[in-house]
């Protein structure tokens, strides 16, 4: 072999090596930030509008842990079948973990308990320790009810009846809030009546009727949707004697507090719930010491304390 032939073949070999080197560098650059975790978040509602602070917390975790998050809302609110279908689909898609706000009823708990797949399941907002559940990140819902009761009792007369509005108590979290609230009211000898908000018009009519005796209406709403609905009813029907307390927070609730339509609300640290759920999911994927039950902080806020230091951090988290 002549020298120029040797040079030619050596040159080709060097070119080939250089080509594959750069080709690999290109591939490495694609995943330069290390492992990407595929985590799916499945909510129990058809919209994420009431989950903004939770989503901010999740997003914070996404950036910190380099997660490819699939945030899914349901076709219809509280659609258990759709939620179950999504769990199956996401497992088939090979996700590394699922973060879930369970729909009403027992269906999702049973499904997660029966799954053969051993991916982590982190339950949010609403949940108990159970089969297949890796961790629960939620407020102490029973205590939320107690906190609301304390404020109601401090701000009203002993004789006033407390009307409790919920969108039904099928959700475990709402039942616990109800239990906490009524337990405290009972202990204080206060009278209360439950109104189920499954028909907006009926609740509106009932509240209007109840306020007609002029004694003033005292209402406790145990979830965001009911709280906003009742505040809207008080505003539209001009029931200015109504005093409304609630559980939950979002921009609309804060606006109603500022307008004086809501006296005060017990707010949960949704940002922390989102972030901690993502952190626990990553820990579970890496078998790195998961905390099975995390209880997040809650605060009572009214018009005077919305912009207080602690409350402001919870109500308006910076992403």
């Amino acid at each position: 072999m002549k020298i120029w032939e040797k040079l030619f073949y050596s040159g080709m070999l060097v070119l080939l090596v250089i080509f594959f080197f750069f080709s690999n560098i290109y591939s490495i650059n694609d995943e330069s930030e290390g492992r990407v975790y595929n985590i799916t978040v499945i909510t129990n509602g058809s919209s994420d509008s009431r989950l903004k602070n939770l989503k901010k917390g999740l997003d914070y975790g996404v950036t910190e842990f380099h997660v490819d998050m699939n945030f899914i809302t349901l076709y219809e609110d509280d659609d258990v079948d759709h939620q179950q279908e999504l769990i199956h689909r996401e497992i088939e898609n090979g996700v590394d973990g699922i973060i879930l706000i369970p729909s009403s009823g027992e269906g999702v708990y049973e499904l997660v308990g029966s799954l053969e797949s051993r991916i982590p399941f982190i339950f949010l907002m609403d949940g108990d320790d159970g089969d297949g559940i890796t961790a629960v990140v939620a407020p102490d819902n029973r205590n939320l009810g107690r906190m609301a009761a304390e404020q109601i009792m401090a701000g009203s007369n002993q004789e006033q009846t407390v009307y409790i509005v919920t969108d039904g108590r099928e959700r475990r979290s709402i039942q616990k809030r109800y239990d906490g609230l009524t337990e405290s009211l009972r202990q204080a000898g206060r009278e209360f009546i439950s109104l189920i908000d499954d028909d907006n018009e009926d609740v509106a009519k009932t509240l209007k009727y109840l306020s007609s005796d002029g004694n003033g209406l005292l209402v406790a709403a145990l979830d965001e949707e009911s709280l906003i609905k009742v505040a809207g009813i008080l505003e539209q029907e001009d029931l200015k004697t109504g005093v409304l307390y609630g559980i939950g927070s979002n921009n609309q609730i804060i606006r109603y507090i500022e307008m004086g339509m809501i006296e005060g609300t017990v707010a949960t640290d949704d940002f922390a719930i989102g972030y901690l759920a993502m952190e626990q999911c990553i820990r579970a994927i890496n078998n790195d010491g998961v905390r099975r039950n995390i209880v997040v902080k809650s605060v009572f806020t009214d018009a005077d304390t919305i912009y207080g230091n602690d409350n402001e951090k919870i109500l308006f988290p910076i992403s």
Binding site: Y9, M12, L16, K52, D68, Y75, R89, M259
Partner: protein, 346 residues
């Protein structure tokens, strides 16, 4: 001689083999045109998700994605990122989408003059960008063929907004010129100074009112940054200063108009000579409740549909021109109309 010929042929063979290896390596990078699409990943980077108009576009997008998924069995992953008015946060969010191989990124810029960085990154990854509502500067838009803008013509919005006032005045001059001095005393609420539409909406609406024969006197003008809360706080101050003099309040968007209404309601003042732009659900409700004279429907639903349709076409590798009417091959202007509630002639 024969041996030399064989050697040359051998070298040509090696070069050919090398070329084939290179071609295979390049072509093995997946192209979505040929493969069966099972998942479409669309990232939406919003300047601020609390902005009611942007929130309306996003909720429409979410509905469209769900409907498409149901009808076609193709999973659509629509991820929404809220930049909370920080361009650096938005840049990070877009980098994140690009690192996760999103197919399309819809961008509602925080700062419309800062698009170059985002465009460069997207070009590197060959991911099309659909800008919406906040238009990048022309120099940036011209950087690449695969970037588009979907929005509405700010001048047209302003002309329609002024038209609402002119029609009301022509129907009943006293309803607008309450003190009968032949001059309309007004307050103007403007959006962010860095948004391309703020100045245009402000100037063009007043110019149209003047061209329509009205004499205008500006009592006050203020930047409330599209924000309901800011507008409410500022309006409370104006009520102390100008309460009896105000005949008309012009707002660059509905959120600020709603803030004005909030302030009026706090003071128990019955005044509805307020016009907005956007026709957000809350704005429409205010018009229907008689709290506002009218608004301009900038068609958030149409904007969302266009974004979604363009995303699908780009993912499928189909040409946009056949289905989407564009100006200069990259601008899509969404049609608008005046909304007057029950009095709406349309």
């Amino acid at each position: 001689m024969e041996e030399k010929s064989l050697r040359v042929k051998g070298m040509i063979g090696v070069m050919f083999l090398f070329a084939v290896i290179m071609a295979i390596a390049i072509l093995r990078k997946p192209g979505r045109g040929q493969e069966e699409i099972k998942l479409i990943k669309i990232g939406v980077a919003a300047y601020k998700q609390d902005d009611t108009y942007i929130a309306t576009i996003i909720s429409n997008l979410e509905e469209l994605a769900k409907a498409y998924e149901r009808e076609n069995g193709i999973q659509v992953r629509l991820d929404i990122a809220d930049a909370s008015e920080s361009q650096s946060i938005q840049n990070d969010q877009i980098t994140h989408y690009l690192s996760l191989n999103y197919d399309i990124i819809c961008v509602n810029m925080v700062d419309r003059t800062e698009a170059a960085t985002i465009i460069d990154k997207a070009m590197d990854k060959d991911v099309p960008l659909l800008f919406f509502n906040r238009e990048p500067v022309r120099e940036d838009m011209d950087k690449w063929d695969n970037i588009f803008y979907i929005g509405f013509d700010a001048k047209e919005s302003a002309v329609l907004q002024a038209g609402i006032v002119l029609d009301a005045y022509r129907d009943n001059p006293e309803s607008i010129d309450k003190n009968g001095d032949g001059i309309i005393q007004y307050i103007m609420f403007e959006g962010e100074s860095r948004h391309q539409d703020s100045l245009i909406r402000t100037e063009k609406s007043i110019q149209t009112l003047k061209d329509g024969g009205l004499q205008m006197e500006r009592l006050a003008g203020v930047i409330a940054n599209w924000s309901r809360n800011q507008a409410a706080a500022l309006m409370a101050g104006f009520l102390e200063e100008y309460n009896d003099q105000i005949e008309l309040i012009i707002c660059n968007n509905d959120d600020m108009a709603l803030g004005v209404i909030d302030a009026l309601e706090w003071e128990g003042i019955d005044f509805a000579n307020i016009v907005g732009i956007d026709a957000t659900p809350q704005g429409v409700e205010a018009v229907l409740d008689g709290k506002m004279l009218g608004t301009v429907d900038t068609n958030a639903a149409r904007c969302a549909r266009t974004l979604f349709e363009m995303s699908l076409l780009l993912v499928e590798g189909k040409p946009l021109e056949n289905d989407i009417q564009m100006e200069d091959g990259k601008y899509v202007w969404v049609a608008q109309s005046a909304f007057l509630g029950e009095n709406d002639g349309e």
